[in-house]
């Protein structure tokens, strides 16, 4: 229950420098299964998501991000925690170019998130928004899951295959003709994930995936998140979800990264959690 119960070897396995073997293995399996367009190489895999000196200010002048440096290996599962207003959501919106940095750079799989790369980056990074009603904007479930692939310019029969596969993956096979407004919040959240899975991204980004779910829906979501082979970044206040699904935790406060390390260590440090308005799992 205390800090010293955190197993050391576990903590070690996810340190960035030593993470190669782990990340590499994942990348190979992934490339085989999904036919990733981008070549894998160990150096790139270790910094699949690479953020350097990222600064961002809102049009009203409020500085939301004040110098973010973050490196995430391919296949890594990372929690992004911190109080409201810490800049978590703002950072997530940078990952596929919705927000553009004022200073600094972002690279996803070696691709700079800028200019003509944006369309490829958006296929590489799947963003799942907090409110599924924002994510599901089409008349039917099928139209929504097909939206991403369709705008990537994929052929119709391949789109049908992808939609079917994505819905199967989230346990919602056969819901193609249903209307989003007639589904439960848990079902809508899973379909929101399917809408980005159908684009076959290498990075999945979630904003508060467990908010508003009942215990059963939350359980199903956690199982689903654990089954993902992609790189996963989750911004959340749900520390139990963090403890169960995500081996690495990044703590943000005031537009800065204030701590980054194995989840067991971070959750073990009462002082750190207290200082940034967080609680233990």
């Amino acid at each position: 229950m205390t800090q010293d119960t955190a197993p050391h070897d576990h903590a070690h396995a996810h340190e960035h420098a030593d993470g190669h073997a782990h990340a590499h293995e994942h990348a190979d399996g992934h490339a085989h299964e999904h036919g990733q367009p981008i070549q894998t190489d160990p150096g790139l895999d270790a910094s699949w998501v690479l953020i350097e000196h990222l600064h961002y200010a809102y049009p009203d002048g409020y500085e939301a991000l004040r110098g973010i440096d973050l490196r995430i290996a391919r296949g890594e599962k990372v929690a992004l925690v911190g109080p409201n207003g810490a800049g978590k959501s703002t950072l997530l919106l940078h990952l596929n170019g919705i927000n553009r940095p004022r200073h600094g750079s972002l690279l996803i799989g070696g691709l700079a998130v800028e200019g003509s790369n944006i369309k490829r980056v958006r296929a590489e990074v799947g963003l799942v928004f907090q409110d599924p009603d924002d994510q599901l904007f089409s008349p039917t479930v099928f139209d929504d899951v097909a939206f991403g692939p369709l705008h990537m310019g994929i052929a119709a029969d391949e789109i049908h295959r992808r939609v079917e596969r994505a819905l199967e993956a989230v346990g919602m096979g056969g819901f193609e003709r249903r209307l989003p407004s007639h589904l439960s919040i848990g079902q809508r959240k899973r379909i929101a994930l399917a809408t980005v899975l159908s684009m076959d991204p290498s990075v999945l980004v979630f904003d508060e995936p467990s908010a508003g779910l009942d215990p059963r829906g939350r359980r199903q979501l956690i199982e689903l998140l654990r089954s993902l082979s992609q790189t996963v970044i989750i911004a959340t206040h749900d520390m139990r979800l963090v403890a169960e699904v995500l081996p690495r935790t990044v703590v943000m406060d005031g537009g800065l990264i204030v701590a980054d390390g194995p989840t067991d260590d971070i959750l073990g440090s009462e002082a750190l959690l207290e200082r940034h308005g967080l609680e233990r799992a």
Partner: protein, 232 residues
């Protein structure tokens, strides 16, 4: 487009509509009752009863104002009322029997501009979401609208109007913010300003034929109503 006073033609239309709704296994009452939802719009046609000069039938004295009921105006008003009641029933029948996305597909097939089709699709999708948000606001107001025993709750009319105005404003802001989030969600999935659509359901040859037959029948009925059917 039936002429004024073509009550026989309107009756035939009503019989046709009732047969159609029975075939669709919808009780005729459901349609005719549902159609009264449009009744308030008839108020706009009500002045016609008084402003037409033909066939004065009597007048109502309202102090400085004397309203004269015109027979012609009454006929126009009755025709408009019946037509709107029937039209709303036809629209209801269509929406009760056809899934909405089929209607959207049909509009697209009929070459309606894509942007309009998209707007209609969004409108349908978010009508329910907006309705829920409005309901939450109203529930929050109701929860705090306590009245002490013996007191006259509610405040002045101006105060209540201001509360309602604030609610409408807040609903508008929430919808606006939602629209920005939806746009971000669309961009995140590669939307670049062009609406694309899977070749969904297309109109089949048989359906075009049925459509042509219906159009011809309607024109014939329209002609008959103008030329042969009796008018009152």
């Amino acid at each position: 487009m039936l002429p004024i006073g073509a009550y026989v033609a309107l009756l035939i239309t009503w019989v046709g509509l009732t047969v159609a709704s029975l075939t669709a296994r919808l009780g005729p009452l459901r349609l005719s009752r549902g159609a009264f939802i449009a009744a308030p719009f008839l108020l706009a046609a009500l002045p016609l009863v008084f402003v037409r000069p033909e066939q004065p039938m009597g007048s109502v004295d309202l102090g400085p104002l004397t309203l004269t009921v015109s027979g012609e105006g009454l006929r126009i008003f009755t025709t408009i009322a019946l037509k709107s009641w029937l039209s709303v029933q036809v629209a209801l029948l269509l929406t009760f029997t056809t899934p909405f996305h089929d209607l959207v597909d049909a509009l697209r097939e009929l070459r309606l501009p894509r942007i309009l089709v998209a707007i209609i699709g969004f409108m349908y999708r978010y009508l329910a979401v907006l309705g829920e948000e409005a309901q939450r606001l109203m529930r929050a107001r109701a929860a705090r609208s306590a009245v002490l025993e013996g007191g006259a709750g509610g405040g002045s009319l101006a105060w209540r109007a201001r509360v309602t105005g604030n609610m409408v404003g807040s609903l508008f802001l929430r919808s606006y913010e939602r629209s920005e989030r939806i746009y971000a969600a669309m961009q995140a999935r590669g939307f670049d300003g062009t609406f694309r659509h899977m070749e969904g359901r297309t109109i089949r040859a048989g359906e075009w034929q049925a459509f042509a037959v219906v159009v011809v029948l309607l024109i014939a009925f329209e002609l008959a109503a103008h030329l042969w059917l009796p008018r009152l």
